[in-house]
């Protein structure tokens, strides 16, 4: 852990890390991009989850919902990861000590595992592939798990400055 911490301190002290942390506008603008990017990516995932749970846009075929929104979800995530990476760069050591940040990363990994399981197992089943109106209940559970996990990611992210390390 101490080598990891030393590495984080080095990242934070690099000229790029210092430049972001000390610039008057760079930091808030990157934060803004992070927020807008997550509204698109995680926001559209939330809407997809509600469709999987069968409470939103019931008449839109499941496959349309998944396929048509995918490029925008991915595009949003690119903005989130680039901006998030830059924010981490400028405060790496502080982040590794922050319980909210660690929890956020943990929930993000779980959300990704859930998404991969949905993509490669649940979505491969025939009723889902053909957008039947009655789909296995595992689809609903996957939607609910995704909605909950991504909510926790957002909540923990917002708590980073509030929870003392």
């Amino acid at each position: 852990m101490s080598t990891l911490m030393a590495l984080a301190e080095q990242i934070e002290a690099s000229s790029m890390g210092v430049a972001i942390a000390e610039s008057r506008y760079a930091y808030p603008i990157i934060e803004g991009i992070h927020l807008v990017g997550l509204s698109i990516s995680i926001g559209l995932i939330f809407l997809t989850d509600l469709r999987l749970m069968n409470v939103f846009l019931k008449r839109v075929p499941l496959q349309d919902m998944l396929r048509h929104l995918r490029p925008y979800v991915i595009g949003g995530f690119v903005a989130v990861f680039v901006s998030g990476g830059l924010l981490f760069w400028s405060a790496a050591a502080r982040m590794l000590e922050s319980p909210a940040f660690i929890a956020k990363m943990l929930f993000m990994v779980l959300a990704c595992i859930n998404a991969l399981y949905f993509e490669f197992v649940i979505a491969q089943r025939e009723p889902v592939k053909q957008s039947h109106s009655v789909v296995p209940s595992s689809v609903r559970y996957a939607g609910f798990a995704s909605l909950s996990l991504w909510t926790l990611v957002v909540v923990c992210g917002r708590l980073i400055p509030y929870l003392p390390s």
Binding site: I29, L44, L47, F56, D64, H68, V154
Partner: protein
């Protein structure tokens, strides 16, 4: 009574003290509700926009998708406005003189006007002309995203 007196009076009210002096996590909770509301609002608008531009659910009637998504837009707006108002009441003197907050309020006003004058009309039409749909979507999303950006900057300016 000057503006500053009004702001101080709000800040010293019982409601303001309840929010600001109970626990710093009350403020954090309001911030979380504010973000989640914003995510619901923006994502629903993006969904309606994609459909208006013919980039998603092409074979579905626009009005049907817009109707269900607009309900989520209202939910998002209610959550953000409520949590935002409570945050403002807790420390009005901090927000009122903040340039990012002022910019955000102006942009918010613009976004609402654009929403009512352009976006809502485009979304209510069975087949809006492509150029009208494009302009409505571009102006509306630009306005709402600017509100979010300016809002995020309040704490840093």
């Amino acid at each position: 009574m000057s503006t500053h007196d009004v702001l101080t009076w709000i800040q010293d009210s019982a409601l303001a003290h309840t929010i600001s002096k109970t626990d710093h996590l009350v403020g954090a909770g309001l911030q979380i509700v504010h973000v989640m509301g914003l995510v619901a609002l923006l994502a629903s608008l993006v969904l309606i926009s994609l459909h208006l531009l013919g980039l998603a659910f092409k074979h579905h009637p626009t009005v049907e998708i817009a109707k269900e998504s607009t309900r989520l837009v209202w939910w998002g707006l209610t959550l953000t406005a409520l949590s935002g108002t409570l945050m403002f009441i807790a420390t009005p003197t901090l927000y009122f003189y903040n340039p990012a907050f002022r910019l955000k309020m102006v942009l918010f006003f613009v976004a609402v006007v654009v929403q009512l004058a352009l976006f809502r009309r485009a979304a209510n039409q069975t087949s809006p002309t492509p150029s009208f749909a494009k302009v409505s979507v571009a102006v509306s999303l630009a306005a709402w995203f600017s509100v979010a950006m300016a809002g995020r900057m309040i704490g840093f300016i």
